[in-house]
Symmetry: C2
Subunit: 450 residues, 2 copies
């Protein structure tokens, strides 16, 4: 049937976007969601709060796609022009939606304020449009069919620009509707794996054949330092879920310890869950990461249950006095050495009286490198209490690449990943897996030298 | 003269952008730069690596603007289609630029590799186009005039998609050229101030009249937790610089301590510069920020000169054992109290033997709040060595708002700002300046309730 939605165009409205003051993350979010549905996004466009420009952008978008999703321009002020323009493009009257008026009035009432008259603008909806409810804010959205000059009838979906509201509305009301329109009677089921430690080329190779092109899609998304792997399956409601289960199981088996989470969980969340489940406590001893590992751990609500704290021992003096690293060790092996990292980890696990401690010391750059220990050289150690006053400690020396923040981020990720692996009985990531050479090979695949 | 560039359209090419895998930060960057030149950006568009879609996007963009800037699609592979499409749109032949061939070959030579044949594609330039050199990568850019069906002759500028290369090329070659085309014989001079602690409405009010609309522009850009203020002046080369100086001086006077930097420097960079200049050392004692302050400080290269390290005392036990906070203090006043924060700061300044220590303790949420101390309650203290073994300590109790990361970020910013202010002989930001009420008033200006 020709009602199917196969192509979409995204449209963002706002002076702050074309003025370079706000990054249009809404379209980025929507593009990802639509890709997961197998919809081809033909264009993403942004224009200022100007009726003529908005109208032109709608016409351009409608001419090229089965579905246009617009974000922004639904506020109560005079520079919020989306609805007025959409009505003109669709040749539809505007009606005041009394249910929305009541809802907006109630939101203001809860804050003890009367509704300003200009908020009535937000309750104006084109005749024939179906309202998309907004549970978090004043501006409702809506969807409607629009007749084009060429006799087509693409869909328009209008959502507010506040990302939190837009996303909630999209997921609750728009996404299920699009899925139904894309492939009536069929469903798309998907699951996402978060991985660390394997380059995209290796993931691609390991997963070859797991998702037959006729049955679904395998998509990679690198956002340093992790790579997400999404498996999506399209089909009739009866078979899709079980086929996804089979494929997901194959992904788990083939990627093994490289998968640290299923779903959206972060590395620090997973570390927290594993520590909680094992009833173990953690301390940190950070030199080159400067507190980043502690900061990441405490980004997780409730982390005080397992994370006791730690030491940022940026100077050698603090490494000795607070962590008890031997002066001789520092002299003989240097601050950036496996010996020093082990001393730091043992010092932290004792002084904080925890079950586990992880320590980092390295050269984040751009200065401080030597021929022997260039920028990016990082030692990481993990100490665990094996019972009573007995401790075990292990260490690795890595050779990372990139700028200062990159080295810090990668170091914190490897350190957290080591905690995770130790709780699962797995060995740490070996330095070879993360060497610049491996990365150069992967980057060279594209033929680009940068 | 009708050669002036007054309007621009931005165009980004890449499957990864419309596929929701990569955020188009290039257009965001360019939009900001063009706004600073007073150029009206009529649209921002992104399309996939598809000749027909790229061609359509070019035509749409050329029809609406005096200048089209395209990024992406200049790589060596078969899905890099920008140049081929631009040549078609401009009705121009392609020529192999021998100077570019030699340059690309030399880049490969330096890496000890022969140039693959497909990199020759990158040296193909439309006849009549002027090359824009790329100092950092293989793909050169170019600019050319394109005749439209309507008889106009807008400019097209084509740049690679790698942000680092694109930005360097834009700033070195394209920006000065556009400035000259925008307003021949005139110059735009600008300066940016980084501020913290005043809402945009207050900045706007304080700066009223400083930049007359006839002489220049005042632009605000909020990127939490800071707000940038940019003053730009357009005019003949003789007067512009001195008028900018006068206006900048007025901004400095009116905003006082709220300005922490001129140019792009971060709060942690400024703190580092002030500590270095004063030859003073810093330690941190972090509870609710969990290491974030240390991590920010060590984002700055060379921070080991003044930052010794610190303690992440997430548990009460570590606050007592490592920082010497009195058990009685914790019992009587609680972990989140000015008394505890002062104890932490004093403990850190002594144990790390520094000149200054800053301490944070608070409830980042979402759990842990009480009626008395709701989520967002944060105590910050600053201890300074006044000579020998004498220390001074001061503290404030803040009531922040927002989610967990927001509270952590705001706390780290206020703490670093306090270090900065103390080195300048200024008092810390008072809690009233950062209260949720003040923020609510500011947010309500837009009429939105969220």
């Amino acid at each position: 049937m020709n009602d199917r939605i196969r192509t979409a165009a995204l449209l963002a409205t706002g002076d702050e976007i074309v003025g370079g003051r706000t990054l249009d993350t809404n379209s980025f979010y929507l593009a990802d969601k639509l890709a997961a549905l197998g919809i081809d996004v033909v264009s993403i466009m942004a224009v200022s709060d100007d009726v003529d420009r908005i109208e032109r952008a709608w016409k351009i978008s409608l001419a090229a796609a089965d579905l246009v999703i617009s974000t922004g321009g639904l506020g109560p002020t005079s520079d919020d022009l989306t609805t007025e323009t959409v009505a003109r493009v669709a040749d539809a009257e505007l009606r005041l939606d009394q249910r929305q008026v009541a809802r907006i009035r109630e939101i203001f009432g809860r804050r003890g304020r009367p509704m300003p008259d200009n908020n009535l603008r937000q309750a104006m909806i084109p005749v024939g449009a179906e309202v998309v409810d907004n549970a978090d804010g004043t501006a409702p959205g809506y969807r409607l069919r629009i007749n084009t000059a060429e006799g087509r009838r693409p869909w328009g979906v209008v959502l507010p620009g506040v990302p939190r509201e837009m996303k909630a509305m999209f997921e609750a009301s728009v996404l299920p509707w699009i899925a139904e329109c894309t492939d009536p009677g069929r469903v798309i089921v998907a699951t996402t794996f978060q991985t660390f430690g394997l380059p995209e080329s290796a993931l691609d190779e390991l997963l070859r054949g797991v998702v037959p092109a006729s049955e679904g899609r395998l998509a990679f998304r690198a956002s340093f330092p992790k790579i997400s792997v999404r498996v999506s399956v399209t089909g009739g409601p009866e078979g899709a879920a079980s086929r996804l289960q089979t494929m997901a199981e194959a992904v788990r088996t083939r990627l093994g310890g490289a998968v640290y989470a299923e779903g959206d969980a972060s590395m620090e969340q997973i570390v927290g869950e594993l520590l909680t489940a094992a009833n173990k406590s953690l301390a940190t001893a950070e030199s080159c990461t400067g507190g980043l590992i502690g900061s990441r751990l405490t980004d997780v609500a409730g982390s005080s249950i397992y994370y006791r704290g730690g030491l940022v021992a940026y100077s050698n003096d603090l490494k000795q006095r607070l962590l008890g690293v031997d002066a001789q060790t520092l002299r003989t092996h240097g601050a950036v050495s496996e010996e020093t990292a082990r001393g730091m980890a043992l010092g932290a696990v004792r002084v904080a009286a925890t079950d586990i401690a992880v320590a980092t010391t390295g050269i984040a750059g751009p200065g401080g490198g030597t021929e022997d220990k260039p920028v990016g050289t990082v030692a990481i150690a993990l100490a665990t209490r094996s019972g009573g006053d007995d401790y075990e400690v292990d260490s690795r020396m890595y050779r990372f690449w990139g700028g200062r923040e990159w080295v810090k981020t990668l170091t914190s990720q490897v350190a957290l990943d080591w905690v995770r692996r130790s709780l699962l009985g797995l060995p740490p990531l070996e330095p070879e897996a993360l060497s610049p050479r491996r990365r150069a090979v992967s980057a060279a695949r594209g033929g680009e030298i940068s």
